[in-house]
């Protein structure tokens, strides 16, 4: 197989997986006594039915881009960061703290809050990287544990130091807000905000870092084959830590965008938001490429948000879309299934050409 075919396949496999997943969902709805055409139509309307819906869809997509980028970055460098959930929480918390208690001019304040959030989450994730590099503790376990620790400590800190009215922090100052009057009017009052723009910029940064810089090459090389990289003189341990720090920073930016752009405060919460786990799905659908992540987040966020409309109008459970998404990931994993579909299509085309 030559290089251009394999590239083409890298693009086609997820596309076909998506098609198969959506078909699977249709069959499922049919078996359960729902009308799949109506179901998908309602999802479509739930996304594109009005400027407001479209804007809210983009609002739902935004954190998924951040989370997807964070997971994908770690995957590219050979690490599985299940801790995006916790790093996201740390980002939310740091942004809320800076947003409510620092005093800076508008714009600069928001920037400072995002920066502090990125640094905090970067350090938090870096701890897991350090544990792996220095002590050989598997990052999957430490990042899972750090999720819970982040959740409980954030609740503790909010309750004791940042408490506003009710079970949440005080409001951030207007100078730290990432809401955009421009975007808000364009989408008829939806909560889409500058966070989306930051997410897109970070996707570009990740792409540049990984594929256009020496450090990025090293990071990918360590992910691909740590032993060969070590032999080639790269500092594997340092790269593991750096990779976790950057991954955490991406997650932290997402948490900051959530606090500063959508809510303006952070809640004390009993459980996880699930954004970090959804980020794993987004990264996998997007084949761990930053631009793929954007598409994956649009697909995941769009389907999930549109599914609310489907459940509201026809009572078709939103979970049918979770099932569709899981089947897409399954097909991406079991790409042998997709490859055989591709091979079949190719053979047919050749037969027809004759």
């Amino acid at each position: 197989m030559n290089n251009s075919t394999s590239r083409w396949n890298a693009f086609l496999v997820p596309v076909i997986a998506v098609v198969l997943g959506i078909l699977f969902g249709a069959v499922l709805m049919l078996l359960m006594g729902y009308d799949p055409i109506l179901g998908y139509n309602l999802i479509f309307q739930g996304i594109f039915g009005s400027e407001y819906f479209l804007g809210e869809t983009l609002r739902a997509v935004t954190p998924l881009i951040f989370a997807g980028l964070a997971v994908a970055f770690a995957f590219r460098t050979g690490l599985f960061n299940i801790g995006v959930e916790g790093q996201f929480i740390i980002g939310q918390l740091a942004a809320a703290w800076v947003g409510m208690s620092w005093d800076l001019p508008p714009g600069l304040h928001a920037l400072a809050a995002v920066m502090v959030a990125m640094i905090s989450s970067g350090l938090y994730a870096g701890f897991a990287g350090w544990l792996k590099a220095r002590l050989g503790v598997h990052e999957v376990i430490t990042t899972i544990m750090l999720n819970y620790i982040a959740l409980f400590s954030a609740n503790y800190i909010i309750r004791n130091f940042l408490k506003g009215q009710g079970e949440r922090t005080a409001d951030i100052l207007p100078s730290a807000s990432l809401t955009s009057e421009f975007l808000r009017t364009m989408f008829d009052g939806a909560r889409v905000n500058w966070g989306l723009i930051i997410a897109l910029i970070l996707a570009l940064v990740v792409w540049f870092l990984l594929w256009k810089t020496t450090r990025g090459y090293e990071l990918r090389a360590v992910g691909f084959n740590p032993h060969a990289s070590e032999y080639a003189g790269m500092n594997v341990k340092q790269n593991i830590i750096l990779s976790m720090v950057i991954s955490g920073m991406l997650a932290g930016a997402g948490g900051a965008a959530d606090t500063l752009g959508v809510y303006g405060y952070m809640n004390i919460s009993a459980g996880f938001t699930g954004i970090g786990f959804d980020g794993i799905a987004v990264a996998l659908i997007g084949t761990n490429h930053p631009f793929g992540v954007i598409l994956g987040a649009l697909l995941f966020g769009g389907l999930s948000f549109g599914a609310d409309n489907m459940q509201r109008v026809e009572g078709i459970p939103t979970e049918s879309i979770r099932i569709v998404i899981s089947m897409i990931i399954y097909f991406v994993a079991a790409s042998a299934i997709v490859q055989s579909v591709l091979g079949y299509l190719r053979r047919r085309r050749e037969v027809q050409a004759k």
Binding site: M32, F80, I82, L131, L135, G136, V137, H138, V140, I141, T142, I144, M145, L146, N147, Y148, I149, F152, S153, N155, Y156, R159, N160, G271, F272, I280, A281, L284, G315, P317, E319, S320, I321, R322, I323, I325, S326, M327, I329, Y330, V332, A333, A334, S335, A336, I337
Partner: protein
């Protein structure tokens, strides 16, 4: 609260909260010893918890089967459902040579989706099952449970807890004292060598993954019809990942997994009964809740040291490859 009562609360709490983790971590040991990474444990527990709750409700409350039998039917159904669900992971990992982590992630999503979809379908759009009326209640072993301190501390827990501990011994025996166990471990360490001497790698791995599904399914049932008595989206919430951690913490060994699960159970018991024990007067409750996770990191970093996974763990086997 007297010292004795505190100890009793902690002992029995430790055993109870460890129960779902013991089953599931044992499942993980089987799967990963055969060379198949099983991050799908979380999803398998979800399927088990859901099935157990629904079957116990159906048999006990709608079909009128005796309340003593109904939860056992729930456990059995959870085991079977877990085994069937694990087939999906086995098929992707073994036959399609898929990335096992990705397949596991997919199944975790799938399990959560399917279970909540069916809950909404079966319970008129509700987000959770009705309360399981005939869930397990604690079972005091006659005689033993009347020993002071030790009796109420160790011998007044769920029947599933005793089953879990018995299964640890059985798993150890099967894995280390039978030809089946030797073959299972062989295909996880060096599948090519095992293949050369006539071990069917594919079949061994399939069996291991199916066993792990059954055990994780039972683990899930302990959550929905023993520790709590309903199924909803937060019933499992991370227990599968904790079990995964217990398996690694326990160095892929049944008794190690038991120890790690008991350790998590102990820390959870401290967190849950912190209020009752009066600990919250000294330590914030959030810290108590975070304790199991903090202790795990500390233990992994300091005490346990590097854990070596089975050599072929996560690597698909292709006949004829080196």
């Amino acid at each position: 609260m007297s010292m004795i009562d505190m100890l009793i609360t902690i002992f029995s709490g430790t055993l109870i909260y460890a129960t779902p983790l013991i089953f599931t971590a044992l499942g993980g040991v089987f799967s990963e010893r055969s060379g198949v990474v099983n991050i799908a444990l979380e999803g398998l527990m979800v399927i088990g918890a859901f099935t157990a709750a629904v079957v116990t409700i159906w048999t006990g409350e709608r079909m009128g089967i005796s309340p003593a039998l109904a939860p056992w039917l729930g456990v059995l159904a959870a085991m079977v459902a877990g085994m069937l669900f694990a087939l999906l992971h086995a098929f992707a990992s073994i036959d399609l040579r898929a990335d096992q982590v990705v397949s596991g992630v997919a199944l975790n999503f799938l399990a959560a989706g399917v279970a909540m979809f069916m809950v909404k379908k079966l319970f008129e759009g509700a987000g959770q099952t009705t309360t399981v009326q005939h869930a397990f209640s604690k079972f005091a072993i006659p005689g033993l449970s009347s020993i002071p301190l030790i009796g109420p501390g160790f011998f007044n827990v769920y029947a599933l807890t005793y089953l879990a501990i018995i299964l640890v011994a059985i798993s150890w025996y099967v894995l280390y004292k039978t030809p089946f166990g030797l073959r299972l471990r062989a295909v996880g360490e060096h599948p090519a060598a095992a293949d050369t001497v006539g071990v069917n790698v594919r079949r061994m791995r399939y069996m291991a993954v199916i066993i792990s599904g059954g055990l994780a399914g039972i683990g899930g049932s302990a959550l929905s019809i023993a520790i709590s008595s309903s199924f909803q989206h937060a019933t499992v919430s991370g227990h599968g990942f904790m079990a995964l951690a217990a398996m690694i913490f326990g160095k892929w060994h049944p008794s190690g997994a038991l120890g790690a699960a008991l350790f998590f159970g102990f820390a959870t018991a401290l967190g849950v009964s912190g209020q009752v024990l009066g600990l919250t007067a000294y330590v914030p409750s959030e810290l108590l809740n975070a304790l199991p996770y903090l202790l795990t990191i500390l233990a992994l970093a300091g005490v346990v040291g590097r854990a070596e996974a089975p050599a072929a763990n996560g690597k698909p086997y292709q006949k004829g490859s080196r």
